[in-house]
């Protein structure tokens, strides 16, 4: 990657003036205190102050802002709601943040053809709310869906609890309009789902904002299922819950979601605004959601009940109605934030292992946490093998922070060893960039670099993310630098 676009300390006043000219003064932030909040996203460990923040409203404004950044030799970083967990929106080296939070129009809803065209700043949950009356919804449902934007979802290829049945963002994006790093605008893909040539949409989704800035997204909509059943399978221990997951997958049933919440998480959630009456003495709760035709619910519930008996389930609790189901899901989705109750900081890990390996991997992960004397909790998408070990800590304690990072690295090494990967839905960003060597050989990373360079040859768009800058990429994580003060 070229390092041509390393940014000067303070941006040129002319750059700011030109950017203000595009979006208006109110929407171009450049005073240090205004930039403060843009130093990081949901990953707070490694914050960097941008030179400026631009808040465009239209695709044209994005393209103009990109052109101006180029002209001044200034790198830029796209940002949505800043809920990402891998530092994808962190402006390294004072890059200009191009924040799409004001691009929040739903441009078109075509119920007959089941698609919608949205601006990137549309909040994920708002789209589903806006189309509910049509009997449709937008399927990817990351836990932050109340706040995260669809543009951000496209960048990260966000998943969510219902990935098991419905797939991730990449399975639901038909076409995008993108401002390329050279400020030109292209349309990738087609609303028909097929575009002659390479699958550029497939390449762009999950590219973490390093290939360009998505300014318009055509998504597929899905019919709201006729029936939904949500069951809590309450266990004394986590491995038993994982074994049930394996049994269900083996049985040929495809539930909409299979989520495991462990005891520590249950207790944190039950102490929060998201409390849902989960039993705080249980070792683990497996949330099973079935959806589809009403006539098949009873049969599946019964089969799952039998499988659960076989794993020694303590209790099966079926959600009585939509309200109770919503309560369960609020509890599950609020779990991450609820950890804020355990300690000032939280490191949400994200790794995937083969589903059949879940019980042994979890045991080993807990052992790693114990070995480092850390408070560890688990809440994860068991049906996908997607683990989220959460470590609660206080980053003002440098020793604890060092242990958090060391444990995190060990967990990733463990996951890779059993055939897993570094991230299932949070992305690589800055967080795992320098761990990529655990999973990939230099030639593999080089192939990724080829794709990036085809879109972003001079590295002006979101530099320093996803691909390690050097080939010696097994160095320790940059966050190990110790307590990182908020910037300024």
């Amino acid at each position: 990657m070229s390092e041509k676009f390393s940014n000067p300390e303070a941006p040129s006043p002319i750059l700011i003036e030109r950017l203000s000219g595009v979006v208006g003064e109110d929407n171009c932030l450049s005073r240090p205190e205004e930039l403060f909040a843009y130093g990081c996203d949901g990953l707070t460990l490694d914050a960097h102050l941008p030179s400026a923040v631009v808040l465009p409203r239209t695709s044209d404004q994005v393209a103009e802002a990109v052109a101006i950044c180029r002209e001044f030799g200034h790198a830029f970083v796209p940002r949505g709601a800043g809920t990402g967990l891998s530092g994808g929106a962190v402006p390294l080296n004072g890059a200009v943040v191009i924040c799409c939070s004001r691009m929040q129009s739903i441009l078109e809803v075509d119920a007959d053809n089941r698609l919608a065209v949205v601006q990137p700043g549309v909040v994920n949950a708002h789209l589903s709310e806006a189309i509910r009356h049509l009997g449709l919804f937008y399927a990817p449902d990351p836990s932050s869906q109340q706040a995260c934007t669809i543009g951000g979802n496209v960048a990260e290829n966000s998943g969510g609890p219902h990935t098991l049945k419905y797939g991730t963002t990449t399975n639901h994006v038909l076409a995008v309009e993108m401002v390329l790093p050279d400020a030109s605008r292209v349309r990738l893909g087609s609303p028909t789902g097929f575009a002659p040539g390479y699958d550029l949409v497939g390449a762009a989704v999950g590219s973490e904002g390093t290939l360009g800035i998505v300014t318009e997204i055509t998504v597929r909509l899905v019919e709201i299922p006729e029936a939904v059943e949500t069951v809590l399978a309450i266990f004394d221990e986590v491995p038993a819950a994982c074994r049930l997951v394996g049994g269900i997958i083996r049985s040929g049933m495809v539930p909409a979601a299979l989520e495991v919440v462990d005891q520590r998480t249950i207790r944190a959630v039950e102490a929060s605004v998201y409390k849902a009456g989960l039993p705080t003495d249980a070792g683990a709760v497996l949330i099973i959601e079935l959806d589809g035709a009403a006539c098949e619910m009873d049969g599946q519930l019964q089969r799952i009940g039998e499988l659960a008996e076989g794993e020694g389930v303590r209790e099966m609790r079926v959600a009585r109605d939509a309200q109770e189901r919503a309560l369960f899901w609020r509890a599950r989705k609020g779990a991450f934030g609820a950890m804020g109750r355990l300690a000032p900081d939280l490191y949400v890990h994200d790794a995937v292992v083969p589903r059949a390996k879940l019980p042994e991997v979890l045991e080993e992960i807990c052992a790693i946490g114990d070995r480092h004397g850390l408070t560890l909790s688990n809440v994860f998408h068991a049906g996908d093998g997607n683990l989220h070990p959460n470590i609660s800590f206080d980053r003002r304690d440098p020793d604890e922070l060092a242990r958090v990072l060391a444990a995190g690295k060990e967990m990733l090494e463990l996951c890779v060893r059993v055939g897993g990967v570094l991230t299932g839905e949070h992305g690589v960003g800055t967080e795992k960039r320098d761990y990529m060597g655990m999973l990939f050989e230099p030639a593999d990373l080089d192939a990724m670099r080829r794709l990036r360079d085809a879109f972003n040859p001079d590295g002006v768009c979101n530099p320093g993310k996803l691909i390690p800058t050097t080939r010696a990429c097994t160095e320790s994580n940059p966050k190990a630098r110790g307590y990182d003060e908020v910037p300024l």
Partner: protein, 424 residues
């Protein structure tokens, strides 16, 4: 780059890199517009890498292929006299029945994979048009048959791909897990790239459970509106796995056309399959077991003769009926999938004579359909006489970006040169 014939030195070096894998073709074989002098068939990954290393060092272009089932796809290759086939690169390398994932070498026949996984209660969700074929071919062409409704597109089944780049470097993307965002999703790029970016060595695939119950039904409609409304509704039933409409052109232009036949396969939990079958054809439940409906759709979809023209038109569901009617009136044999909305239109010489002139007429009509908006067209086969000067990737956008990608992955352009969109 040798335009005529692979030089002996190249062939020797290939033989050295992959012992026993070079097969000389005398007389030369005509495939994809090329006269092939030799076919290289490496039997393991390292040999494949060695072959590409030799080819790139010698600047020798190569026709990348699997078992050759769909070599009529794509534009004719330019300046190629050596084929690189993955046919002998076969076998299942890993199968995890507990997790429902399998790793397979590119040259493994789909039928072999299906047999293996079905013995453990799983299904290989690849359903390319036509019979036979290899896993590598199904991925490179991204070909979808009647069961796309149930299986999803090819890219959904692919978890990771090991490839060899034009330079001979072996690379890996993705993994065996079912959810993964570690790095760029290069597998998406390789799927459907017709072997122009890299050669697939092996792939991790995600399997689907064998459904508890499968039933097939058939219905006929005279009115086009009824047929399409019903087909779309059937396709949106929760257990729909394959739904297609088939129609023949009028026997004489202007004559009353025959009926639209709706063929459907429902698969899943028994009560739903029963309900959906009953919904489509009251009194028909439980329907017919077996493969007949899907076999018929698949066969019709791939029935184009050498002299015929086969266009695949991707639309929005709402535009299907109008487009299908126009094509049928113009003499097309049709297979129509309502969602994702795809029309397979086949023009044969006996009706409306597609020969060079007839071809122009049909292509003009297709161009009109594409111009009317939200339609994408791929010409699956074109009579040889017409194929030289046309791009079968009609109107592909973003060519500059695609060329940039090609340039990064295959800077000397040795992999399937000319086969892809815009002469890539």
């Amino acid at each position: 780059m040798s335009a005529e014939v692979g030089e002996q030195a190249t062939l020797d070096a290939l033989e050295a890199a992959a012992e026993g894998s070079v097969c000389l073709l005398d007389p030369p074989e005509r495939v994809a517009g090329s006269r092939l002098r030799a076919r290289v068939e490496p039997a393991y990954g390292e040999a494949l890498a060695g072959c590409l290393d030799v080819l790139s060092r010698h600047g020798e272009s190569v026709l990348v292929m699997g078992s050759g089932t769909r070599m009529h796809w794509g534009n004719p290759a330019r300046g190629v006299s050596v084929a690189l086939s993955s046919r002998r690169l076969n076998g299942i390398t890993e199968f995890d029945p507990a997790d429902g994932v399998i790793q397979v070498r590119a040259g493994t026949p789909l039928s072999e994979v299906s047999r293996r996984v079905e013995s453990e209660g799983w299904l290989l969700p690849l359903d390319p048009s036509g019979a036979g074929g290899t896993v590598g071919g199904a991925l490179a062409t991204a070909s979808c048959g009647p069961r796309q409704r149930g299986f999803g597109p090819v890219r959904d089944a692919v978890l990771g791909i090991d490839t060899v780049l034009a330079s001979g470097e072996r690379t890996r993307c993705g993994a065996r897990v079912v959810k993964n965002v570690t790095g760029y999703d290069l597998a998406k790029l390789y799927v459907g790239s017709l072997g122009t970016l890299a050669v697939i060595e092996k792939a991790w695939l995600r399997l689907k459970p064998i459904p508890a119950c499968v039933h097939q039904v058939e219905r006929s409609f005279d009115a086009v509106e009824d047929a399409f409304a019903q087909a779309l509704a059937a396709s949106r039933r929760s257990s729909a796995r394959a739904v297609g409409l088939v129609a023949e052109p009028p026997s004489v232009p202007g004559a009353h056309p025959g009926p639209w036949r709706l063929l459907a396969e429902f698969a899943g939990e028994e009560p739903t399959v029963r309900a959906d079958t009953e919904w489509l054809v009251p009194g028909a439940a439980p329907g017919v077991e077996g493969e007949g409906v899907v076999e018929e759709l698949r066969a019709r979809q791939a029935a184009c003769s050498e002299a015929g023209l086969h266009a695949r038109i991707h639309l929005l569901p709402g535009a299907l009926a109008g487009v299908a009617r126009r094509l049928r009136e113009r003499g097309a044999h049709l297979v129509v999938y309502p969602e994702p909305a795809v029309v397979h239109a086949r023009f044969e010489p006996e009706a409306g004579d597609p020969g060079p002139d007839g071809c122009d007429g049909v292509l003009g009509l297709l161009e009109e359909i594409r111009g009317a908006g939200a339609a994408e067209i791929f010409i699956e086969s074109l009579p040889a006489a017409a194929s030289r000067e046309r791009d079968v990737f009609a109107g592909a956008g973003c060519l500059e970006l695609m060329r940039a990608i090609k340039g990064r992955f295959d800077p000397d352009g040795i992999l399937n040169p000319g086969r892809f969109a815009g002469g890539i």
